[in-house]
Point group: D2
Chain length 352, copies 4
């Protein structure tokens, strides 16, 4: 059994880790910390866990995280990097669901997250937690900077088009003019008391936000450059708030280069993801629904080329709290400890 | 033109006052105060008002409320009673949408609202703002303690059964065993940042709250006693939170006394409300929907006696922000200033 | 492995059976029938099942249901009773999710369902599928008439108060004046194209329906009489439609008899359900939420006595498609085949 | 008073016409037809109209539409063109909310709507009902083919960029590569019983649809060509279904041509719509919300140029049933009969 601790489990990614880890056959959950709620059984905050998860929040001091094999950080940005050094020294492996270990450029990190990076040396060895792209590196990683929710959908949606793996390095699309029109349920904003995500404000409503610049933009562009193997990438990223709890739907637009007009893009995607347990390339003509992945670690993709013209439209759906966060974290955990990649991640989506 | 000011207009009842008063032909809105947002155009907070309501929030000092004919308090409890004396001295009439002037018993007020009452003398002259019950008194009132949202639906639902007006003092139902199972949209909780009313918490969900005791219980019982003309009233009141923005649906249960088994309750309700502009007694067998009053000052009632047995079921719907708050306030304003009772209140509900 | 077939799996209870049975370690799903959709993979209708459930709908003829150990009927009323005789003759055990085997009085059945009962003899041996009440009988039953969604919540909510098991036959409440104010998500109406349950009609809205008389009323009263061991039962049942997908919340009202004023009702409920795997009596003061059981077979109950007065308020939540239908069916299946009662039913609710 | 009739008023655009026309000071509503519901008071279908709109549906025969000054067709495609000739002969002016008089190319009409056009001659004189573009022509039109809901948002969003009015014919954007990622509430699908728009299917969900080709695509391209004055237009149009009742949000993407890098696009939009009563160009940096126009005829636009790069992002919101249908129709009616353009269209949006 792998001993696992969770730092900061009061948010939505925390409860999702609990839900899935409680049913993971090779994980022993030893501690979950929350200084503010120390002593409170987790099932008091999330009644869905009553009778199923019987531990209480503990203070970081009582949690003895240094005795874990792995620790998840389901915390605000800045927490993981403050504790990473000590845990690594104790031989603990780290999976950070926040952004501390995502951006390799510390100047970019400071610009977007408004704080200096506390451990650039650890950042250097951190692996970006997106199993479909970095599977081998994740297996031996000590520190995972888990891919963000939007970035997962956008990168996996564009990857087959830009990765040299199947294209042989040939350019298929104009990578200087990528567009991601993304839509997220409000759980993406977390369990924070804010006026903007009240039901009375956000339901029966739709709007864009962060058009000027969203923290996920540099993360996505960094990831796309890594996948493509070149820096010739420019993305316009417009996130929107959908009046629903969970789910991300990214509608990606790419302009096909004349030399790629004859490519069978449906086949390209199917081949690229042929062996992926959690990526489902749907049949041509499909329109994936976010509810088809509600509560599951699955990500579904559909490839369209309307009117046979020069614009590709890629539709991607995922559950932002599962494949976009906690499930993806467990997927990395499984890889890091030599377990089957889908262990504990076999829940079928809840539909309707 | 009646000069009207609004104190504390940043909440939902504030914006509803603005929406309706902006279209009221005899009202001149002279000021809306918010110390916190002073200087900000109201249309910046509520973009629905762009191009239609062109005033900005002002500080209480700048608002010159003492030059108004009437002032609405769309504030938290405790604000109106702190300012009432001075305004009254200046000849301003007051309509308080909060609870400061609802409960005649100051001990009850202190118990439920956790603060001492600051002006028991003014409270004595205050009129309970429920036009269908207190129409004549409202006309000459200087201070209105406007009926709460739930209380409006419960009192108007039970009134025909307990008022001596049409029953001639005969008892029709067991008033010691009244039940109101009430349901409200989340705007009833106001525009406050709270975890419990986030979309991610409150949507796709249903629950009761305040079962142990809700502030509206003493208000309703006081009102029912006044309507009945006796104190033999006992209500069980269970409010619930509905995943919708607006609307209250109260399902009322009353046990018919044997001596009233032959009463035609449908006719009783129709007669009782025959001349009311804002109370719609629907045909027998109807099930009113909250959306049928969305955005309007209408309240709809349906009377049921399932299986012809001894239990009456009264269904009542209203828009909690209109008939349950701001619309009701304007209805009182019209009465106080001798205007047609429905002036500025003729919006048809938005459906779908 | 138990061979299981499903008749009529295109509705919501069908997909829920598939979701849960696909993860049941002792069940082999051999066939799912739909004459209309024969040949279509089930995952084409429910994309949530893609890659997880690989069978297709078949015609009843091709399904070879007579070779199953058990067959679920997830069909409209009237289908199961037409096929029961033949299946029973082949040694197949039947779990009907519709109403064919619920009402023991065939005249009542005809009155509420508008069709004659085709096999009164089989009806006589049918067991009412509510494990918490009929556990022993279910173990050996050949035919289960599974408890309906509302009836499950109402019966399990009143049972501790009226069952002689812990009361010793003493009356605690006035059973002639029971009230159930019940609320259901719209999936309770099934996957039928109807104007009334369109999102544009049912969302941001709340209403009662079926006040004159609902099919579940006779079922509930029959069940309560059986639990109480006497016929002195009268229920007022008012169902409401909540703008959410899943979940039932029943708010039950009962008048405490003077001789029971000193009973510790919280303890009574806790004792009554002490050993039940799927009934959670929450701590005093709790207000259960429907989302706390979303996708799970759990039912949660809270007991209230507002103001210490003579009215008991019992709050009950369940997922109408799981504990109110498919999960309950699998619970019965487990009992019928000597498996652990909670096998395949261990999903933790999805929250948020 | 203008005598107005409505053909086919049982759908959502019908009830919206009723809601607004009932408050229009210069309109007398003389008839509303529905063969199926003839005799039923409209307020029985839409309880929001109880006490406010007192006419009943009538058969086309009884409606005496030929005595109207104007007739709205709120019908499925194909109805208006069957009745147009006779009404025109009687001197009645026609406003068709369906597609019969939108596409000037009858071959295109047949391709997308699957029926031959019955009156190509009348089609020739029909004016496309988009007041901001065709104001003068509308004033004298006998037949209006009202702009569709999506097309209104897309055309008014791109118009300032492509119309020669302010650009002086200079090209600002690459009109061969326009993208509209559009999102609509489900009322856009109408009041038809369909599985896909049930609350249990469409709520807490998000998906694209019609990616292969949507009927509004040829209408939009025709409109953009007319606005631009050239045929060099190519649009990728991807509509999505949002779990809300009303509202359209179109996110438009356009690539700025190098020669236009210095254009002040914010000012361009403000100038272009400076005198429009129903188009609100919001301040730079805004993100318009659909709820800010709920129930109103307003359309709001925000102009973005993320990172100062070469992609323009235009955000447009409207109420699909008002500015996207019925309100727009009344706007045309006002123009046709020489009334103030905003008469009867002054409702402020309902927010929250």
């Amino acid at each position: 059994m792998i001993k696992v601790g969770i730092v900061g489990g009061t948010g939505y990614t925390g409860v999702e880790l609990l839900r899935m880890l409680a049913q993971h056959p090779e994980v022993e959950l030893t501690a979950i910390t929350s200084r503010k709620e120390a002593g409170m059984p987790v099932s008091e905050m999330y009644s869905s866990l009553r009778g199923r998860v019987n531990i209480a929040f503990s203070t970081p001091e009582d949690a003895k995280l240094d005795q874990c094999n792995a620790v998840f950080f389901a915390t605000p940005h800045g927490v993981a990097m403050a504790q990473a050094k000590e845990l690594l020294a104790a031989g603990v492996r780290i999976i950070d669901l926040a952004a501390d270990f995502r951006l390799q450029d510390t100047a970019e990190f400071e610009k977007w997250y408004g704080m200096p990076h506390q451990c650039p040396d650890i950042l250097k060895e951190a692996i970006y937690g997106l199993a479909e792209i970095n599977r081998e590196k994740i297996k031996t990683a000590r520190v995972i900077g888990l891919a963000g929710c939007y970035p997962t959908s956008v990168q996996l949606g564009f990857a087959p088009l830009i990765s040299p793996r199947l294209t042989g390095g040939k350019r298929f699309i104009d990578t200087k003019y990528l567009i991601s029109d993304s839509k997220s349920g409000v759980s993406g904003a977390g369990r924070k008391a804010e006026v903007g995500t009240l039901l009375a404000e956000a339901s029966d409503n739709f709007k864009a936000y962060g058009v000027k610049g969203h923290r996920h933009l540099p993360e996505i562009e960094q990831g796309l450059k890594a996948i493509a193997g070149h820096d010739d990438i420019k993305l316009t990223f417009v996130p929107h708030l959908v009046p629903m709890i969970r789910g991300i739907h990214s509608t990606l637009y790419a302009r096909i280069l004349p030399e790629a007009f004859d490519v069978d893009f449906q086949k390209l995607f199917e081949d690229f993801y042929a062996n992926e347990p959690f990526v489902d390339v749907m049949p041509a003509g499909s329109t994936p629904e976010t509810r088809s992945v509600r509560g599951s670690n699955q990500l579904r993709i559909a490839v369209h080329r309307p009117g046979g013209a020069d614009t590709l439209v890629i539709l991607v759906v995922e559950d932002n709290l599962v494949k976009g966060a906690s499930g993806q974290g467990i997927q990395c955990l499984n890889l890091m400890f030599g377990l089957p990649e889908d262990m504990g991640l076999q829940q079928i989506a809840l539909m309707p």
